[in-house]
Symmetry: C2
Subunit: 261 residues, 2 copies
């Protein structure tokens, strides 16, 4: 399956402008043959959140914000992952949603590991665990940013059969160690593909690092090295997963009896 | 605490010759102010094992092979980690032992994750889990080679308070991804020091990769890049652990309720 990761430049927020940009990128990704377009953490609304963006971007699952994204998926016949502040009663979650090329919700996930005050000021922690859906013959899983830094969270996906782990992120300086080392380690040790899709540029005093990375289970990776908006288009080949799991059988060589005191 | 990792060249096996070399290295490490000298996997006997080396190198914990190493620790007043084929009734384990500067055994660990036929032909799997000892104000833990590639095994050490994880290894080509990416990731994600000490050169058709690495919890590392025998001498500073755990509180931000189905 060909996928496209949109390393989006930080711009002043505003839903209409975001949707206009997303529409242009979806067209470009579909023209390039991608079946799935992945956008950064909190792509609807921007990260970090502010009161004005919360008011405009927050909504329930399959509310108007989600529907606006679905319309773009439908228009270009491309599956799409987006983030948004998901409201549910009095709570707001840092959520990501996968829609199919018809704009139908396949999966929705609430960030479980909140990162410092920048998350905790705004969001309730999710309690979803492993969230997956089937797309183009692959089992696709969802995590968000800080989640992927916990090896246990990725391992749980691998043991549940995830082939492609989609990770919208908002990684800021000076944490480049994460895309450079942690994300490739996760893909290798848990034997799945990881599509880690980041913002680039500055917003509200935070400098986002780019370095959008697709890491493969054989230790290889493709990275957007240039610090600018770009689209990373690459293939997720199940044969690579099969070969890697044969070469390093981590999932069957585990000794779970030894890992808890 | 200053430590020394001996990246040992593969030589024809033979216990007397090995002890002679170890003695020279222990002197050099002690002269450099190191309090702990770490040697590669199965340093007594060589890796991979062969019938002749098994006959000469195998023995019980605190048997003659262990005692010969203890005598060197005592002579130079330096703690020491060595590997050897540990016999216990009908079984042989791929073991590592930590002795203090008086030559007394502080801890002994049996490799739990056996790597392919090269291990399984010779060894029974250990069932020790976390093995630790106190040395120079640090909690020192032991894993061996393939063990460290499992994030769960390192996490168990971190949660049990290990500050310095000593990992004798026999890493061969083409697995350089392990010292380059996995070992630094483990140190960062589990917030401890890892001293990964490898062979260099060829033995029985296997080419060992060197790249002996001490990885710190802040993402920094020191590496022996040159493909030759050498001694890596570096500091393990508890203040680095404290600062890293404050900067990235992985150990307290975990959500263990979400990691099992």
């Amino acid at each position: 399956m060909r996928i496209a990761c949109w390393q989006a430049a930080c711009e002043a927020p505003g839903l209409p402008r975001f949707l206009e940009r997303l529409r242009a990128v979806a067209r470009r990704a579909a023209d390039a043959g991608a079946e799935l377009l992945i956008t950064p953490e909190m792509s609807v609304g921007g990260y970090p959140l502010r009161p004005a963006t919360l008011a405009e971007a927050a909504g329930p699952l399959d509310g108007p914000q989600c529907e606006a994204v679905s319309a773009i998926a439908r228009e270009f016949g491309i599956a799409l992952v987006h983030g948004w502040p998901e409201s549910d009663g009095p709570d707001v979650y840092n959520s990501a949603r996968l829609v199919d090329p018809h704009g139908t919700t396949l999966a929705s996930y609430r960030k479980a590991h909140l990162f410092g005050d920048v998350d905790r000021t705004w969001f309730a922690p999710g309690a979803d665990g492993v969230v997956q859906a089937s797309l183009g013959g692959l089992t696709v899983g969802l995590l968000i940013c800080y989640d992927v830094e916990f090896p246990e969270a990725v391992r749980a996906h691998a043991l549940a059969g995830t082939d492609l782990l989609v990770v919208p992120t908002a990684l800021m300086q000076p944490w480049e160690f994460i895309p450079r080392t942690i994300v490739p380690a996760r893909a290798f040790e848990s034997q799945l593909f990881i599509a880690y899709t980041n913002w680039i540029g500055e917003r509200h005093g935070l400098r986002f690092s780019g370095l959008t990375t697709v890491a493969a289970p054989d230790g290889t990776r493709t990275v957007l090295e240039a610090p600018r908006e770009d689209l990373l288009i690459t293939e997720v080949d199940p044969a690579v997963i099969t070969a890697a799991r044969k070469a390093t059988p981590y999932l069957t060589d585990r000794r779970p009896d030894l890992y808890t005191p």
